[in-house]
């Protein structure tokens, strides 16, 4: 019995550790984007991963940064250790304290201070700044690994080498270095892994168009992580596993063999020695070759980034454009698109505001654009250079003009509404007409889902109460909060991305959702239906804008013009399933979908809708305090 519990405990611990990873690996072979349903085995995500320039680019970036950072920090760190050893004990302790502080320091502090420092010294963020930052934070790890080894090996062999006529450099290379090599190597490995892993520091110090795996994954949070990332994570996990196994078992094996040989009194004959030397040389050669290949590749890559050809820097939500369109644009114009991605408007804004990274074209949400206009971060669009702007549906442009008078700065990319998605097998078709239905206790048994997002969640209550969705009046907000609190017992969950999956898998029967998700959900589960409630709703636009500090305005205009082409609009619609603001594209879309008033609401419905506006800092704080009141309840 005791044994059983012991085993049980072990199994629980192992499950706890490995179940998440197994889940990830299984999902990477799942033939759907939706989590929680198994739609059969597929390798398509691996295929997509291998053919996606963005992922491959991020992958190579990650490796390149990690390798350079690890090599440089290992060299610099080892030299630093030699210096530290030469200090007196008191000085040494002081220096060690100083070098150890960054280890304990929060990454976020390191990241922000590096970004500020780069800004202060007028260094614009680029791949170089990322590598520099990585070298900085890897250094203490190298010192931590090398110094004990150096201390252990002592100064006597070094002095002996000098005594025998070696110059200090020769003595270090031929006597000290081989002795401390295990420490140097483990320092290198640790630095490599730390760099590979890092998100925060990379995020704050990278320049336009530079993504590592971690920043790429993070930027896809808005649209939900594509399973290609699962595939990529699986590959990385397997690689790390193999390296770990090798580095754990190989040295043991070698040491064992050596010991056995020593016990047997086996001496290496000169031939064997020569053989061993040759093997060693081949090993070094291989290592040099790998480094050379990566450097050449990296060099070419850096060359391409800073390179001769025309480039536009494009800042977009993660996975928010059909990659084929980018390729097509590059083929057509010869302009290289360097795309950088973010996860939310809130994380994109400060980066653009800081002015340290200059983009040529950005896709952003309407009320963030409003804030950018207010802070003079954008430049007016020159419609003469964008003839395809004529394709834009005038009625949408009219709505957009409420935020951007005269349509001066914003060119809509996608748009949509917020509404209710419900399952027709549970709730009769036509039963849902109003936001109030989300407060219906009868429907609670099917599972009601709400968004966990300040503006959207408040908007629902504001529509029911007949308030302006841009209100910041404390009395009205108090009523909104009271209404939402009243609804709380009925709500199954407040969630953003997961809402889509829960409705598809029928874990929930009804929930508020963006219209863009509707068509995707319908593909996965045909029982779902979408309704724009009669009280009206929010209409949102994601728009192309050109920042004031753009360097290649002409390229940006060409790109926007290309994206407004009817065919390009269709490709976008099919990739994202978000409604298109392009009337030329509309002609090409299936009639059935085009006529679907849920996706493309009638003018009458649109008249009841409104857009969110940027309310200013003070109002934002008021809203946030009421949001806290509600969420804290």
């Amino acid at each position: 019995m005791k044994n059983f519990w012991k085993r049980f405990y072990l199994v629980i611990v192992l499950l706890f550790l490995y179940l998440p990873i197994i889940t990830l690996i299984v999902l990477s072979f799942n033939n759907t984007k939706t989590m929680g349903v198994w739609k059969g085995f597929t390798l398509k995500w691996y295929q997509e991963m291998l053919s996606s320039p963005q992922i491959l680019n991020a992958f190579c970036n990650t490796l390149f940064i990690a390798l350079i950072a690890a090599v440089v920090s290992t060299i610099v760190g080892t030299i630093a250790c030699v210096g530290i050893m030469a200090l007196s004990r008191r000085q040494r302790n002081t220096i060690l304290q100083l070098t150890n502080i960054p280890l304990l320091n929060a990454d976020i502090v390191t990241a922000v201070s590096l970004m500020l420092a780069f800004g202060l010294f007028g260094i614009s963020l680029s791949l170089g700044t990322v590598i520099f930052a990585h070298i900085t934070f890897c250094l203490p790890y190298v010192i931590l690994n090398v110094l004990p080894k150096l201390r252990q090996s002592g100064t006597s062999t070094y002095e002996a080498a000098l005594d025998l006529g070696a110059s200090p450099v020769y003595a270090f290379m031929h006597v000290v270095l081989p002795d401390i090599m295990p420490g140097v190597f483990s320092g290198f490995l640790l630095a490599f892994t730390m760099s590979l892993d890092d998100f925060i520091i990379t995020y704050f110090t990278r320049g336009a168009g530079i993504n590592t795996i971690s920043t790429l994954v993070y930027s896809q949070v808005k649209v939900g992580i594509r399973p290609t990332i699962f595939a990529l994570s699986t590959v990385i996990f397997v690689i790390v596993l193999v390296v770990l196994l090798l580095s754990n078992f190989l040295p043991d094996k070698i040491a064992q063999k050596r010991e056995e040989d020593a016990k047997k009194g086996i001496e290496l004959t000169p031939e064997q020695r020569r053989k061993k030397k040759t093997l060693q040389r081949i090993g070094y050669g291989l290592m040099a070759a790998v480094i050379a290949v990566v450097s050449i590749f990296g060099g070419r890559y850096v060359g391409a980034m800073t390179g001769n050809g025309e480039v536009i820097y494009f800042y977009n939500y993660g996975d928010y454009i059909d990659p084929d369109l980018v390729t097509a644009f590059e083929m057509q114009t010869g302009i290289k698109v360097v795309m950088d991605t973010f996860d939310t408007n809130e994380s994109m804004y400060p980066i653009v505001e800081s002015g340290q990274v200059s983009y040529d074209v950005i896709v952003a949400g309407d009320y963030t654009v409003e804030k950018m206009i207010a802070n003079k971060l954008l430049q007016p669009i020159n419609y003469e250079n964008i003839p395809n702007a004529a394709n834009l549906e005038p009625s949408y442009m009219e709505i957009l003009a409420r935020t951007d008078p005269g349509n001066t700065y914003m060119i809509p990319y996608t748009w949509g509404t917020v509404g209710i998605l419900y399952n027709k097998t549970m709730i009769p078709e036509g039963r849902i007409t109003s936001w109030k239905d989300l407060w219906d206790p009868e429907l609670a048994e099917y599972g009601i889902l709400m968004q966990d997002s300040l503006r959207d969640t408040f908007m629902v209550a504001e529509m029911i109460l007949g308030f302006d969705m841009n209100t910041s009046d404390p009395e009205e907000l108090q009523q909104v909060v009271d209404l939402l609190i009243e609804q709380q017992p009925l709500v199954q969950a407040y969630e953003n991305d997961a809402a889509r999956d829960d409705l598809i898998t029928e874990d929930a029967g009804i929930g508020m959702i963006y219209s863009g998700e509707y068509l995707y959900c319908l593909d996965e589960n045909e029982n779902l239906d979408y309704v724009i409630p009669e009280e009206g709703t929010n209409v949102w636009f994601d728009c192309f804008v050109i920042p004031a500090n753009a360097k290649n305005v002409e390229g940006a205009e060409k790109f926007i013009n290309f994206m407004l082409d009817a065919e390009a609009g269709l490709a976008t619609f099919e990739y994202l399933t978000y409604p298109s603001p392009n009337s030329a594209t509309m002609e090409l879309i299936d009639e059935e979908i085009r006529e679907d008033e849920n996706v493309f609401p009638s003018q009458e419905t649109l008249d009841k809708c409104d857009m969110y506006h940027y309310l200013g800092k003070e109002a934002d704080q008021v809203l946030a305090s009421y949001w806290k009141r509600f969420r804290g309840n």
């Binding site: 002592g154 006597s156 062999t157 002095e159 002996a160 025998l164 006529g165 020769y170 002795d179």
Partner: protein
Amino acid sequence: MSNILELEHISKKFDDDLVLDDLCLEVKENTFMTLLGPSGCGKTTTLRIIGGFTTPDEGRVLFEGRDITNLPPNKRHLNTVFQKYALFPHMSVGENIAFGLKISGKSDQYIRDKIRYALKLVNMDGYENRDVNMLSGGQQQRIAIARAIVNEPKVLLLDEPIGALDLKLRQDMQYELIRLKNELGITFIYVTHDQEEALTMSDTVVVMNQGYIQQMGSPESIYNEPENAFVATFIGDSNIMGGVMLRDKLVRILGVDFPCVDTGFGTNKPVDVVIRPEDVVLAEPGKGRMDGVVSHLIFKGVHYEMEVQAGGFEWLVQSTSMFPVGQEVSLNVDPFNIQIMNKPESEDEEAVVIDV
């Protein structure tokens, strides 16, 4: 014989600790010189200054008359055998020995011959391809010596090279070192805190304490005629007592007058007196100069060691004949075996007894 090495007015401070103070030393060609003293006496620092690992604050180092004070160790024609051997752990025995030769660009054939010659010299034939980490302490020491001497230095510095070995091996190595020194015909400068090693091997012994040279001379003179109480205590066992030099050739010790051979100290002058334990002759009571009682007895192999209470002093006595504890005896000393020393004049010269 000319001087191969001269140290002129060398001073060295570590932090606030004065390790060497105005030290002068001349080393003759082809001698075996030993720097002897307790830990912290400055002997190792002296050796490191000669080797070039430490730079003196003041003074000069001359090698064959040339100033080498600021020459780095790799430019000096000296080689060192280090206390902890300092073999290169990732190299085989042969590679260790070849290290210096490769740097000076000798041919492969020359290096091979030299390795074989050196290994033969230290009685380690056929060990070229062994892993140094698998050798015993004594073997490692021999390799360290071989590694140093293949470079044909004019001076070989040895820093307590056999201190870590066990007693029997240490004695064997002492003879080996003497043999090596004679075969190579070069100068050895040897650092140790072991007085027996110093006396056995050296042509010249330099006794050091607190950064000063206390006495320098042949092993016999150091042992038989210590110039001060420190040297007397440090080298061998001794009875050291205060005494008064009544006049030439007569000293009063513990209230009893002893004839001696020393002159020139003046009259009624307080002095230190050293009498070696083997020079105290025991006889029946009343037959010697002083009477006493045996209080301790230990058998030491070659001789007995006894403590005798006489005149209020505990005499250390070594004798081949045995007197049991409690036995009454008389003490006598041959005038030749009484060594008279001046009392130290300054505090720095004050003898410090350190157990070694």
